[in-house]
């Protein structure tokens, strides 16, 4: 079977999931509200149409690309869409619209960057763009502070999280920079080669101070270390990097109040003072754990979790969507979701291994690593493995910037894969 036919076949589970999930939520809500709404079926049909459209684009432009990446993303998107629909119909409609936008950007990226190697030429421009994007939330009039962290930019009615795009810029820059310097760095470590490392470390510390977000900075720095390690095979560099990050994080954790609050909430979410605090308390993480406990092994089923009043699970459609999924699908469902992410990560690294040239390898590795770390940061936060920070769960959380940025990431991975798997 050709790669594309396998891809088409692999879309079936996503189709079943979206149809079954919407039906379940629909039945559940139908029981409560007598009036019948066909919005659910419309959204489901739209979604499947979009998947097929994307499949056809891939079929014509990237015939050799990995056949599993897109169907896996479709599964994530359908779980996310069902859960968002279950929270609020309007949000689901918005999210479906974002998927349309995401797929347009996806198609455009594929068509424009079918040969992505010229990106190397613009690496400094891209790096600059990334830094500007990251600093945008602190520009007066544009800042939209959420829970004390500066993650969003408000342009009129639209709030947009530039960090999502910046992570891709950073990976492109690092992949091309390290392609040039990796030989030298691998041979002998000179002080001047440590320069970029220090620059990136400095940047992530600045990030921590400026956007006040430990999670994003962990994600960026982790992606960076992963790339440095793969490029040079030098564990010593990773160790030094981790040590520096830990030192920096420890310093800011005690000095930046927002970060300090998050860590206190993480250490003891049931402390009455923290739990009842108006701002920066532990109410959200505590509710996240309560929701997961309600899920148990099997979960309550789609549409059955307690979600009224809404304050019972704050930010259920974004930060805490993993808690809601665990609540409704149980440990088994949550583990399956992690399994899907793991499968994507596996396909991503596989693509990197198959790629011929260093830039392609590093690009695929970096994109995959930063994607995996984003999952780790948010799920780890929601499960209280690490302090909770507001990054999105890729392809599942509600949010336009996240959907669009992750579709660009997917498009880049697929183009690398197409090139790597093309018969010669």
């Amino acid at each position: 079977m050709s790669a594309r036919n396998r891809e088409l076949l692999a879309l079936v589970p996503a189709a079943l999931l979206v149809a079954g999930g919407f039906a379940a939520v629909f039945l559940q809500q139908d029981e409560l509200h007598a009036e019948v709404s066909n919005l659910s079926l419309t959204i489901a049909a739209w979604f499947l149409g979009l998947c097929l459209g994307a499949h056809i684009i891939i079929r014509f432009t990237l015939p050799h690309a990995d056949p599993y990446l897109f169907p896996l993303v479709a599964i994530l998107a359908s779980v996310g869409l069902v859960e968002i629909y279950r929270i609020d119909e309007t949000l689901a409609r918005d999210q479906a619209t974002w998927f349309v936008g995401g797929l347009v950007v996806f198609a455009a990226t594929i068509v424009l960057l079918r040969d992505y190697r010229p990106l190397e030429r613009y690496r400094y421009t891209i790096a600059l763009a990334g830094i500007v994007l990251l600093l945008l939330p602190r520009v007066p009039f544009l800042d939209a502070q959420v829970n004390g962290a500066y993650l969003g930019v408000a342009i009129g009615p639209i709030t947009f999280q530039p960090a999502e795009l910046a992570k891709i810029c950073m990976i492109i820059f690092l992949a091309s920079y390290l392609r040039d310097t990796r030989q030298v760095m691998a041979q002998k470590l000179r002080l001047k080669d440590l320069g970029p490392l220090l620059v990136i470390w400095g940047t992530s510390m600045v990030l921590l101070v400026f956007i006040r977000d430990l999670g994003s900075s962990l994600m960026f720095f982790g992606g960076f270390l992963a790339l440095v390690y793969v490029a040079t095979s030098r564990l010593s560099l990773v160790a030094v990097g981790l040590g520096m990050f830990a030192a920096g994080a420890a310093f800011f954790a005690t000095t930046v109040p927002h970060v300090k609050d998050r860590i206190a909430a993480w250490q003891d979410p049931f402390d009455p003072e923290l739990f009842n605090a108006q701002v920066g308390g532990s109410y959200q993480i505590a509710q996240s754990l309560f929701a997961q406990a309600d899920g148990g092994l099997f979960g309550t089923g789609f549409g059955q979790a307690v979600l009224e009043p809404r304050s019972i699970l704050p930010a259920a459609e974004t930060d805490l969507i993993y808690a809601l999924i665990t609540n409704e699908l149980g440990l088994f469902g949550a583990a399956a979701l992690i399994g899907v992410y793991l499968f994507i990560v596996e396909r991503g690294f596989k693509t990197a291994m198959l790629a011929e040239d260093s830039f392609s390898k590093l690009l695929a590795t970096g994109l995959t690593a930063v994607f995996a770390l984003q999952v780790f940061v948010i799920v780890g936060g929601v499960t209280k493995l690490i302090p909770l920070t507001g990054v999105t769960l890729p392809f599942v959380s509600y949010g336009g910037s996240s959907v669009i940025a992750n579709f660009i990431l997917l498009a880049l991975l697929l183009t690398v894969s197409n090139r790597a798997r093309a018969p010669r």
Binding site: F270, F298, V306, A334, T365, V375
Partner: protein
């Protein structure tokens, strides 16, 4: 570069394994701990979505039922208004739960064993509450409330052979519907939050002489014909004790002493029996521990002797306790109305004490009995022969003694009056009456008391209340 990529993948694998491990921690390993966390309101919100089962009286009349609201949650209604504020209580999300609503919460919510719940989840069966069928009798309860007539007090009537409580009335009552309407506990009238039948601790006065008589006869130290001096006043525990209205008696039998409620005779008997014997018999009747019944522990009080300035009860053999006065229901002795009903019940049931119960059975929505709440014995208080003799003596009280006001047409009632002084200066009394009927084949044991009555006597104030309720229950 492929080797480091493989190692990097291994690191990611490890990180993701940690995520699954931590998810397991909250969903399985620490699930119960989280669900029991005081900050967790999910259980309460979830319960709102379950149609809670109704609570019915023994004839099937609805005491409590749930109605669905537009948002899909359920709310409690109490069709009988204030009739069963006690002991049924209330259940509202914002106000909490009390009484039977609390005691039988799991049954009313239809929480079954974990296995069937998981199965239900998979097949998508909704949780539906079960019905609690009580032993209560709405008609007799209404008679009791009417007989109390708004005066603070309580009536408890139960079946001696089974312990099934037929009437449990406490004034002031409250109407749980008003709590819902005002969504505040302030809707409970002053003093109405207490179930006087199980929580009111009152000096039982002469009704307690039944306990003393049982101890006297059951130990073999006395018979019903033992002669004791009933002169007044008589020095008991070093202090002179008088009979009611200073009445003088010569040497009289124990039977006559009970019929006429002669204090000095029972004071002497109590002193002779001693504190340890009295304590032993009281404990057999259930004194000195929280009164047994299917209500939350916080709504059940114990009976015993309290010495001034002390919070806790002391045993009767304590040297600070005046056994002679305890033997006539004074000297710091306090008893709940339910405890005094239990005294009559044990005599009525041939000496065996049954655990009082308000719940009769749990019935599912299809009308099948899920659980029968079986009567439970609390043990033997006295020999059957003692019960027989004391029963006869109590019958004499109603036939020709202080309790004639409780006599019923065509039915012989065995009872004992009591009049505890609450304030000698203002002549404020607490009248009591305990009884069982019919004497030959006891069907009901009862205790009735009014907290404060100006000059009222057990025989004139409390006995008619018991009579009215007995009449209804034996109809």
């Amino acid at each position: 570069m492929n080797a480091p990529i493989v190692r990097l993948f291994a690191v990611m694998l490890l990180l993701f394994a940690l995520l699954v491990a931590w998810t397991s921690r909250w969903t399985v390993l620490q699930q119960e701990e989280l669900q029991d966390n005081a900050n967790n309101r999910r259980g309460l919100l979830e319960e709102l979505r379950v149609p809670r089962g109704p609570i019915r009286d023994r004839d099937g009349a609805a005491i409590a039922r749930s109605v669905e609201r537009p948002d899909g949650t359920y709310q409690r209604r109490y069709p009988l208004g204030n009739l069963f504020g006690h002991p049924v209580g209330y259940s509202f999300a914002t106000l909490g739960r009390t009484g039977l609503e609390q005691e039988y919460n799991d049954e009313l919510l239809g929480k079954e064993d974990a296995v069937s719940t998981v199965l239900d989840q998979i097949v998508g069966k909704d949780q539906i509450g079960n019905e609690l069928r009580t032993t209560l009798d709405a008609k007799a309860q209404r008679v009791a409330i009417q007989a109390l007539g708004g005066r603070r007090g309580a009536v408890v009537a139960l079946e001696p052979q089974t312990g099934k409580v037929r009437v449990m009335a406490s004034e002031p009552e409250f109407d749980a519907n008003e709590l819902r309407e005002e969504s505040s506990l302030d809707a409970i009238p002053e003093g109405g939050a207490v179930n006087r039948a199980t929580q009111g601790q009152y000096p039982p006065g002469s009704t307690f002489k039944v306990v003393t008589t049982v101890a006297a006869i059951d130990t073999g130290r006395y018979t019903k014909d033992s002669m004791i001096s009933g002169k007044s006043p008589k020095v008991i525990s070093g202090t002179p004790l008088s009979n009611s209205h200073g009445a003088q008696f010569g040497n009289i039998t124990l039977t006559e002493a009970l019929t006429k409620s002669v204090n000095t005779v029972f004071g002497t008997v109590g002193e002779e029996l001693g504190g340890d014997t009295m304590q032993e018999y009281m404990e057999r009747f259930g004194f000195s521990s929280r009164v047994e019944i299917d209500l939350p522990a916080g709504e059940r009080a114990s009976s015993g002797v309290r010495i001034p300035g002390r919070e806790r009860f002391v045993k009767v053999d304590d040297r600070r306790v005046d056994v002679g006065r305890v033997a006539i229901g004074q000297g710091g002795l306090l008893a709940t109305p339910l405890q005094m009903a239990q005294v009559a019940s044990a005599v009525a049931n041939g000496g065996e004490l049954m655990k009082p119960q308000l719940g009769d059975r749990i019935v599912d929505r299809e009308g099948r009995t899920v659980e029968d709440i079986e009567p439970e014995s609390l043990g033997r208080v006295m020999k059957a022969s003692t019960a027989q003799e004391v029963g006869d003596m109590m019958a004499g009280v109603v036939r020709e003694g202080t309790g004639t006001a409780a006599a019923l047409q065509g039915v012989s009632v065995a009872g004992k009056t009591g009049t505890a002084e609450r304030n000698v200066q203002t002549d404020l009394n607490q009248p009591w009456f305990i009884a069982f009927a019919p004497r030959e084949n006891p069907k009901i044991a009862i205790a009735a008391t009014i907290e404060e009555s100006q000059g009222g006597q057990g025989g004139t104030v409390a006995a008619p209340i018991a009579k009215a309720v007995l009449e209804e229950l034996l109809r």
